[in-house]
Structure formats: structure tokens, C-alpha cells
């Protein structure tokens, strides 16, 4: 499966941008940042962290920063949806 094709992303993100994107998603989704969140949000965020780190590590420097950004958006929406539905 080609992530770029699937997500229609360019391949021109720099190494620095990719690292930066990963750090930003880590700050958003790492369990340490969700100790006061509800269980749903915490678990959703944790899953997102795993995906972001797998993407970061797996595709490494060739990986597009946009994918991480998109992933981050999905996560936020997903978490919000789940949190909303559980109330």
C-alpha cells in the first residue's frame, strides 16, 4: 500500500519538517498529556500516538509531513466523535 498515493501527498517534506510534525503529534497524543482526559480520549490519543510513531519510524525521512498532519486531524476528530457519542 502506498501512503502517498492513498493520501494524495507530495514527497517533498524535509527531514526537519517530518521530525517537527512528529514532535507536535507526540505533544498532542502522548499518554503523559492525557492523564486528566476521559478514558475514551486517552485511549484514542494513545492509538493515534502509536500510528504516528509507526508512520514516523516506518517511512522515516521519506514520509510526508502532510500525512502526519492529516493523521493528527483524523485523530482529533475521531476522539471528539468518540467522546461525543459516549456522553
Amino acid at each position: 500500500m502506498d501512503h502517498y498515493k492513498t493520501l494524495g501527498l507530495g514527497r517533498n517534506a524535509t527531514k526537519g519538517e517530518i521530525k517537527e510534525a512528529f514532535r507536535r503529534s507526540a505533544l498532542k497524543f502522548h499518554p503523559d498529556k492525557h492523564s486528566q482526559s476521559s478514558k475514551e480520549v486517552r485511549e484514542g490519543a494513545s492509538l493515534m500516538f502509536k500510528q504516528a510513531s509507526e508512520a514516523y519510524e516506518g517511512i522515516g525521512t521519506a514520509y510526508s509531513v502532510q500525512l502526519l498532519v492529516m493523521l493528527a486531524r483524523d485523530i482529533v476528530e475521531g476522539v471528539a466523535r468518540r467522546a461525543g457519542s459516549s456522553d
Binding site: 501512503h3 521530525k19 517537527e20 507526540a26 505533544l27 499518554p31 503523559d32 492523564s35 494513545s46
Partner: protein, 644 residues
């Protein structure tokens, strides 16, 4: 078991009020109850008089909070400070506690004003008491160290915990004053302390629990609040069995482990904070700034760790870690055998006079090693009490020669860690040296030399960095924020060891590679090795060996309902997941032929399922099942590439 009962509504299950009848010993710390006001206008009565710390099984809920509105109370976000986790570093030799005080990290002191307390538990008469509040002797007070070395105290718990009696480290511990007995069959070693002239048995786990109770009590008295959450530092090389034993000891002590943190990771977090603050003062903004790479070398009395971390914008990412059981204890042992080649004869028959001589020699050797950090030679004068007097000079060159093997291992670890993190010496911005042994001149020059640096990073106390980092993590993971931004940081931990399964022929296939960021989830597809194979054994191991027998067996279970198919065609998915609390779960099951759907419900197994690293279970499995239930890998290009 400490028990929390609100004053207004005295609700608590009766079962929690009585100690387990099987519990052989109860330890009373406070005979009276203490009352603490709580922010949400409740009042808690603190009862530790029911504390039972011996041999009860790990309970799911080590403590209980009862309140008007909520019976569990756990998910309720109470005042953050009430639940603020403290940082504890239980070292092989010394131990310290630190806590975020609202503005910075503060190390607690015992009643003798010491921040670094000696890690040991004294067993005397019928009561066993760790001596944290009153003890924690420094090396200079030889009398107390002499007591610790009399056979009545257990120390070096960190080197013994979670190891089987076949472990070389357990064998090497036989020259300690207390009894370490091995039967070499892969079970828990027998350890015992001298009480009223009888060797009374205990376990490293129990000793650690007693010690932790003392620490907990000390912290509660000083902080005037109950303590339940802790961030505990551990060596990089701790396998899951060792981690679980440490967690159980905490549970026995009424503590909940919020995070287990490899020591260099804790140091990395402190480094991230310092870098963040520096950036802020330079640029006055929260910009992520440039990335800084640090190599952290940590060597204490029991363990040596090396890690590399990349830090920017307050986020520290561990790139690689290496560690092994190597420390001041090994250096001390080398020196002891150098001073007295027949040192073995001192402890073989456990004669009380010999134990005393051994203790005196240990103290003299330790003192000499410390002095050699600043002097080129030291005079040793010690009367061993049995007519033997040792008077000699020990030169630094001699010291370095007898410890050559130690330095070689340190060098190897650093090289491996750099290679793992794909870094060259030139890529490193800072070299951080922490732990007692980092004060040894040879070790400093060795680490700095390998990293091509003139000097080490300044601004960290070598003996306080790890516990300070643990307290920072305690604050961050407890959800505390700081208006000045001192807690706007994060450390992304990594798995120190690979996790995987056994395949046909006894090979080890890692599913989660070492140095993977935690939390992590990885999966792989395997296939059958027999025609029409309907069941497969999933045998989980942790380690770096290519063959399973070099690694630690975590547990096993059987995947069933594999669709009938020729060998090599059925697909079995094995997924491993490590959550924030470092719990490892393995999900496995067979897929419907030619689809990515499960053939029947998957199995979810929390690992380890074994109680100890029993290598012989693996032998028994092979003996009973041969290769009938074996799995094998499929080519990499057939592995699903999706991020799942």
C-alpha cells in the same frame, strides 16, 4: 494495605478491613490514625495500622478510595496535586525521593538530612525494619556500614530482584554477607538474613517492599499527604520479569506505579527541561528551536546504561538505549580479589568472624575506590580482626588494570548505542555523565573520548539527575501544568529490548524491535509449517538473541481455528501492543484464507503469563509438541504495509 476511609461516610468493604489470614507478618507503622484535609472538602482518615506487607498476592487495586459520589474514585479528576506522583530512584547502593513542589523539583531528606539514603533493610529480632528514616548511612560512618555488612541486613536488592538462580549475577552475589543460595534449576534464589543467630529467609521483592514502605512513610510525613502514585526509575537492562517484580514490590508497599522509567530516560527529561528553559531565555518564545542530541552515560553501583536522545521544543525522544548489569559492585569485587586473592575463602563457610572480616575489607576497598577518583594512589590500612592486617598502597594504574574488563564493557555499550541510533561522535552536542561511577576518572575520559568531547555537560548533579527527572515525569504524567512553562515537555520512551515470537527451528523473530517508541503497536503475519495445521503455538520472548534460547521466555498460548490449507498458505496474525503503563498484550488469530478478516475471534493475552523466566517451560513445550504447532515467517513483501 493502606486504606482510605472518608469520615463522613464510613463505607468500605469489610474484606478490606482485615488483613489476609495467611499473611505471616504484619508491620505496623503508625498505631494511630492520621487525618488529612482534602481539597474537595472531604476529610480522610489515614489508617496504616493494617498494613500487611508479607506474601499477599498482588491485588488489582492496591488501595481504595471511597467517597460520597464515587466508589472507585480513581477516574475522578481530583485536585492534581493530591495525586501528584513522586519520583523514586531505588539504587543498588543508594536511594532518593523527589517531588515537584509547584515551582521546581525538590529532593526529600531523611531525619539525618541526607538526600541519598543507603538502600538496605535490617532484619533484627522479630521485626524487620528498613532504616530509611533513621538509617541511610553514608559511607563515612563505618560503624553503620559494618552493621549492614554483618549478615543481618539485606542490600543490593536491585541486583537480585526478578532473577533466577541460574543467573550469573545471582551467583556473583554469593560473596555478600547475607545468604544467597542457588540450586541452579531456574527458580527464585533463596536469600536469608541473620536474625538471632538463625538465617531467616526472605525474597528480594519482599525486602524491596519493606524498604519502599519506609520511603513512602517518610515522604507522607514530610509532604503531609498520602502518597500512592510513583514514578520509579529502573535500569535499561531490566527485562519484563524484573519490571514486574519491582511493580509487585510497589503494590505490596501500597504504591501505584504510574511509570517505570529507565534511568537515562529520566535524565533525558531533565535535559529537555534545561534546554527548553535555555531556549526560552535566549529567544523569549516557545519556539521549538534547533534539535540537540545528547549521549547519556549512567553508571551506578549495580547497572550501566547508555542512551542517546534528540531534544527540541521540550520533547525528548530516546533514539537508542543499551544497558547491562555492571557497576560499582563489579569494580569493588575486582578490587577485593586483587587485594585478597583468596577472598572466596572468607565467605564459603559463613563463619561469623569471617563475615566480619569480609565486611571490614569491603568498607576499606570501597573507601579506597572513592579516594582514587581524586588521588593517584591511596593507602589501605585495615585490621581484618582475625590476625590479618592489610597495609598497602593501591595505585590508580593498578586499579585501572584490574578493572579493565569493566571499562571494555562500558566502551562496547557506548559504541553499540551510537550504532543503534545511527549517530557518529560528531553528531553529539552534549555528553551527560551521571551515577556514582561516572566520577571515576578512567570512565569519564573513556566516555568523553568515544564522543570526541573535551568536557562533559554541566548543570546536572550526577547523583540527583535521575530522581529529578523521575519527579518531573511524575508531575507531567499527573497532568500538572506550570504557568512558567517548566513542565511543557515530554519524553518519548523506547523499548529497551525486542519482543517477538519463536518460529520453526527455534529462531526468534522480533515483532516490536528494541528502541521502538512507547506506546507501540506492531503486527506481523506468520504461516503454518505443516499441511492441514489447525493450531499454532505462539511462544513469546524478550531479548536480542537470534535464537529463542538466548532470550527470556514471557509466555505462550495456542491459536486455534486455522483454516485447513497446505503448509505455508494459512495466515496467522500476531500483534503486540505496549500501552502507556508498559503493559504488553499479544493479540493473535488465524485469518480467513485470502482475506484480511479473522477466521474466528482472536486471542488477547497479557504477557508475561509465566511467573518467572522458566527456561524449562520452553523445553517442555518442545518435548511435548515437537514442531507440530510451529509457525514460520512469510516474506517481507507479503507483510501488510498499512499503518493499522
Amino acid at each position: 494495605m493502606p486504606l482510605w476511609v472518608p469520615v463522613r461516610s464510613q463505607v468500605a468493604p469489610a474484606a478490606c478491613l482485615s488483613p489476609s489470614p495467611e499473611a505471616p507478618r504484619a508491620l505496623s507503622l503508625f498505631s494511630s490514625s492520621s487525618v488529612f484535609p482534602l481539597p474537595n472538602s472531604q476529610c480522610l482518615v489515614w489508617r496504616t495500622d493494617l498494613l500487611v506487607i508479607s506474601s499477599f498476592r498482588m491485588a488489582e487495586q492496591p488501595y481504595m478510595v471511597a467517597s460520597d459520589s464515587e466508589t472507585t474514585g480513581d477516574d475522578k479528576s481530583q485536585s492534581a496535586f493530591h495525586d501528584l506522583a513522586i519520583g523514586i530512584e531505588v539504587g543498588t547502593s543508594k536511594c532518593s525521593i523527589a517531588v515537584w513542589n509547584g515551582a521546581q523539583v525538590e529532593l526529600l531528606r531523611n531525619t539525618r538530612k541526607q538526600k541519598a539514603m543507603r538502600s538496605y533493610v535490617m532484619f533484627k529480632d522479630d521485626t524487620s525494619t528498613g532504616e530509611v528514616p533513621s538509617g541511610g548511612a553514608s559511607n563515612k560512618t563505618a560503624y553503620e556500614e559494618k552493621e549492614i555488612l554483618s549478615g543481618s541486613a539485606i542490600f543490593n536488592m536491585k541486583r537480585l530482584i526478578g532473577r533466577a538462580d541460574t543467573d550469573p549475577i545471582v551467583h556473583a552475589s554469593k560473596n555478600l554477607p547475607f545468604v544467597v543460595q542457588t540450586l541452579d534449576i531456574g527458580v527464585k534464589p533463596f536469600i536469608a538474613a541473620l536474625v538471632n543467630n538463625v538465617w531467616r529467609s526472605t525474597t528480594p521483592e519482599e525486602v524491596l517492599a519493606i524498604f519502599l514502605v519506609e520511603l513512602k512513610t517518610m515522604a507522607e510525613v514530610q509532604l503531609k499527604r498520602p502518597i500512592r502514585n510513583v514514578v520509579l526509575t529502573i535500569p535499561v537492562s531490566f527485562n519484563r520479569f524484573q519490571q514486574i517484580r519491582v511493580e509487585r514490590a510497589c503494590t505490596m508497599a501500597g504504591l501505584h506505579v504510574l511509570r517505570l522509567m529507565p534511568e537515562p530516560t529520566a535524565v533525558a527529561l531533565l535535559y529537555a527541561q534545561q534546554q527548553q528553559q535555555q531556549q526560552q531565555s535566549l529567544h523569549g518564545s516557545m519556539g521549538s528551536g534547533c534539535e540537540k542530541v545528547a549521549l547519556i552515560f549512567n553508571m551506578g553501583a549495580g547497572y550501566c546504561d547508555v542512551a542517546t536522545t534528540a531534544t527540541a521544543g521540550g520533547v525528548s525522544q530516546i533514539k537508542a538505549m543499551q544497558g547491562c548489569t555492571l557497576g560499582g559492585e563489579d569494580i569493588l569485587k575486582n578490587v577485593l580479589y586483587h587485594l585478597l586473592p583468596n577472598f572466596d575463602s572468607l565467605y564459603s563457610n559463613r563463619d561469623m568472624n569471617k563475615i566480619r572480616s569480609m565486611g571490614l575489607l569491603r568498607i576499606a576497598a570501597q573507601d579506597a575506590i572513592h579516594r582514587l577518583s581524586t588521588q593517584s594512589s591511596v593507602q589501605i590500612n585495615v585490621d581484618l580482626g582475625d590476625g590479618t592486617k592489610m597495609q598497602r598502597v593501591l595505585h590508580q594504574s593498578e586499579f585501572e588494570e584490574v578493572n579493565r574488563n569493566v571499562f571494555e564493557i562500558c566502551e562496547k555499550l557506548i559504541k553499540l548505542c551510537l550504532a543503534d541510533s545511527k549517530l557518529a561522535a560528531e553528531d553529539i552536542n552534549d555528553v551527560i555523565l551521571v551515577g556514582g561511577c561516572s566520577r571515576i576518572p578512567k570512565i569519564r575520559s573513556l566516555v568523553l573520548g568515544l564522543c570526541k568531547k573535551e568536557k562533559e555537560y554541566e548543570g546536572m548533579d550526577a547523583l540527583e539527575a535521575a530522581v529529578t527527572g523521575a519527579a518531573l515525569e511524575g508531575a507531567v504524567a499527573s497532568g500538572i501544568t506550570d504557568p512558567s512553562g517548566s513542565l511543557d515537555m515530554l519524553t518519548i520512551q523506547a523499548t529497551p529490548l525486542s519482543l517477538g515470537i519463536r518460529v520453526h527451528g527455534g529462531g526468534f523473530v522480533p515483532i516490536i524491535q528494541r528502541n521502538t517508541a512507547i506506546p507501540a503497536r506492531k503486527s506481523m503475519i506468520f504461516t503454518t509449517t505443516q499441511d492441514g495445521q489447525t493450531e499454532a503455538l505462539i511462544v513469546v520472548y524478550e531479548g536480542e538473541g537470534k535464537m529463542v534460547e538466548e532470550n527470556h521466555l514471557m509466555g505462550y498460548f495456542k491459536v486455534t481455528a486455522i483454516p485447513l490449507a497446505p503448509k505455508g498458505t494459512a495466515e496467522i496474525s500476531v500483534c503486540m501492543d505496549i500501552d502507556a503503563a508498559n503493559t504488553l498484550r499479544v493479540f493473535a488469530g488465524a485469518m480467513m484464507l485470502g482475506t484480511d478478516r479473522a477466521n474466528s475471534p482472536f486471542f488477547e493475552v497479557r504477557m508475561p503469563t509465566l511467573d518467572d523466566a522458566h527456561g524449562w517451560c520452553a523445553q517442555a513445550l518442545v518435548k511435548t509438541h515437537g514442531s507440530a504447532l510451529d509457525l514460520t515467517t512469510i516474506p517481507k513483501e507479503l507483510q501488510p504495509q498499512k499503518v493499522q
